[in-house]
Structure formats: C-alpha cells, structure tokens
C-alpha cells in the first residue's frame, strides 16, 4: 500500500507550493502517473480522499493523468507504446527497454 506514502508526498508538495503562492486553499491537484510506475490508481484516489482532510487540500479533487509506457528497441532503435514490462519490439521482436512510463509527478494545482 505505498499509495498512501505517495499521497503524503503529493499533499506535502501541493501545500508547500500553495503556501509559497499565497493561496488560501487548493481546489484541484493534477498528478501525472506513468503506466509502468507501479501505482494502483484507484488506491491512490482512495488514499487521497482520506489524507486530504485537515490539509489545505481538504476539499480538493485529485486529477490523475496517466502517461503511457514507452519502449525503445536496443537492436533496431524502434520506439513503441507499451502497457507492460517485457514487451517485444513490433519491428524485430527484440526486447524493448523501458524509456518512459515510470513518471510520478505533481503537474499543477488550481488554488484560490
């Protein structure tokens, strides 16, 4: 259940940034999560709805933008979109190396 740890990190970053900007409250937190980052999105949203209480984001919505996995073939250099590790290159059947899809980022906030 590392999603709760991630939510603690999300809220910490969001509150820090909102305070710096002199905001009174956070309405929306937008995060970008790669499809290969090992995050269960429903658990993330569930944890957020509990952990936001008592913070500047107490009434905030969590918007999750899911970023696709990206693989590159070391053999032929082809790029492909992937949903899982151990995907094969569509061009030459080599094993793709993961080059994207592990992102865990707070992208933006909507604040008052």
């Amino acid at each position: 259940m590392h999603e709760m740890t991630l939510v603690a990190g999300i809220l910490e970053i969001a509150e820090e940034r909102a305070r710096e900007a002199g905001a009174a409250r956070i309405n929306t937190v937008t995060v970008e999560i790669g499809r290969l980052a090992g995050v269960e999105l429903s658990a993330l949203v569930f944890c957020f709805e509990t952990a936001r209480l008592g913070t500047m984001a107490a009434g905030a919505e969590l918007v999750v933008c899911e970023l696709p996995g990206r693989g590159r073939c070391p053999a032929c250099g082809a790029d492909a979109e992937i949903d899982f590790y151990a995907a094969l290159c569509p061009a030459c059947d080599g094993c793709l190396q993961v080059v994207g899809g592990r992102e865990l980022r707070v992208a933006s906030l909507d604040v008052d």
Partner: protein, 286 residues
C-alpha cells in the same frame, strides 16, 4: 503511548530496535498523517483519465483559471525520499561501504541466506544488517546470533523501507568502513521496487517453491534489480519449477540481470553469490 519513557507515540509507529535492547517506538520523522475528523464538505471524487502522449506542459508560470489560479508545479512525488537516498549514497561512498537492498516475497529465504553469508564471510568481510519487517524482532535475533551488528526496523503497517528509515538506522548501527551493509527489505515484491534507499544494487531473491512466472507477475522488481538469486535449489527434484523459464522471463524484463542459483541451507552455489559480493565490494571501494 510508549510504555518505556512515556513519550506520546502511537503504537503502530516505525520502531528501531536492536536485539536485547529495549523497545522504544519512534515516529517516522517524515510521515505526517492527517487525522480524520468531523468535517462538512462536498465529496469531490477524484478521477483519472488517459492522457495523450508527448503532450506539452505549462512550465514556470501561473495564470488565472476560472476564478482561481493555476500553479505549475512539475515536481517528483518521491523527491523527498530521493534526496535522503542521495544522502545515504554519500554516506556509503564516504566510508567505502557496499550497500545492497535485498527484496523478495515473504519466505524466499532472505534471512537464511544472510545468516549463512555472515557465518561464512565474517572473517573476510565486515558485514552489518538492517532488518525490515512490519512486526517482531525475530530476524534481527537470528542475524545477531550469526554474529553481525544488526538493527531491526519495524514499519508497523508499512509495506516497504524508505530512505529515511535507512538514514535513521545508519545513525544507530555500527556499519564498518569498507564493509558490506545488507538491507533486508520487507517481504513484498511490489512496493520496495519504488523506493530508492541509496543502495548500490537491488538483489531480488526468488525460491523454487514459488512460481517460475514471478518475473512476469512482478516485473517492476525484476526490472529494478541487478542480481537475481534463485534459492532453495536443493528442493528442485520435489517442485514444479523451471529454472530456465524463470530466467528467460526475468531477462525479458531486464536483459542485464545476473543470476546465481544456490541453496542457502544446503550450501551449493554459494560460491557464485560470494564471488558477486566480492566483485561488487571491490567496485564500491574504487
């Protein structure tokens, strides 16, 4: 509340204990939990949606957005963990310590492998151990009996060690300069893949009593590891486990993964593990 000194700690907080020492719960410094309380508000339900790839982002500017303001943040969620992990890395580097993060599902034989390693190598390589488990001092007691300095981190309900737990453990554990620190993570093939502890390498341990499709089921962990130890090979005649199929599945996730097959209890194959350990230690000392 802590029954030893009366400090106001919750009983499920992370604890740091040595075998024979007193039980003293300490709150994990970086974990702040919001306390649920009576609170009137609209239930805005979070949602997620797919995102087109290679999209642009707003960078470094704020602008008005429907009455409120939009703040561009662009910050890694694990930033704080990763900063502490970098500090740990510096700590290891400054002392010439090789740090290994041992990850596996429960029951793969991590602690047995550590006990055997300590008994076989303690005259040659100074070893110290950080034990991670949700509860109990059991594994730390086994390590202490094998003859290495050890600190038990009980994560309470936590499913993984994080960099801050290791940093705090390092402050209490006598890790010998030029030695090897073995960090036995919580038995879990999912969450520990995500948290950098500052280690030089992750070693994933799988036993032949598990399915040979573990690398396909838990690919993130096999992708993050440098070495895969296949343990309990003495049981191969009795179980349905295809070593080559397991290796092939793991290589598809991580073509650079190295393998050692061994039996921590029977002893066969341990020389390969010790060779890998010596090579990595020499590389860390350079």
């Amino acid at each position: 509340m802590c029954d030893t000194c009366g400090c106001n700690q919750s009983p499920d907080a992370v604890t740091y204990r040595k075998p024979g020492g007193h039980d003293h719960p300490h709150r994990h410094g970086d974990t702040e939990h919001a306390h649920p309380h009576e609170h009137e508000h609209d239930h805005d339900h979070g949602h997620h949606h797919d995102h087109g790839h290679d999209h642009g982002h707003d960078h470094g500017h704020d602008h008005d957005h429907g009455g409120g303001r939009r703040l561009s943040v662009e910050q890694d969620i694990l930033r704080r963990n990763d900063v502490v992990a970098e500090r740990n890395r510096g700590w290891f580097e400054g002392r010439g310590v090789l740090a290994l993060n041992l990850v596996s599902s429960p029951g793969s034989g991590k602690t047995s492998l550590l006990e055997r390693t300590i008994r076989d190598l303690k005259g040659e390589i100074p070893l110290a151990v950080i034990e991670g488990d949700q509860q109990t001092l059991n594994d730390a007691e086994r390590i202490a009996a094998a003859g290495a300095p050890v600190l038990q981190v009980n994560t309470g309900f936590g499913c993984h060690l994080d960099a801050e737990m290791v940093r705090r453990a390092l402050a209490e554990l006598a890790v010998p300069s030029g030695g090897v620190l073995l960090i036995e993570n919580v038995g879990n093939l999912v969450c520990p893949a995500l948290f950098d502890l500052g280690e030089h390498a992750k070693v994933v341990i799988i036993s032949v009593t598990e399915g040979d499709d573990k690398p396909q089921k838990y690919p993130a962990m096999f992708a993050a590891a440098s070495l895969c130890v296949i343990n309990k090979t003495d049981l191969l005649p009795y179980v349905d486990f295809d070593v080559e199929a397991c290796k092939d599945a793991a290589r598809r996730v991580n073509p650079a993964l190295a393998f050692v097959e061994l039996s921590a209890t029977g002893g066969e194959g341990l020389d390969g593990w010790y060779r890998w350990l010596r090579d990595r230690r020499a590389a860390a000392a350079r």
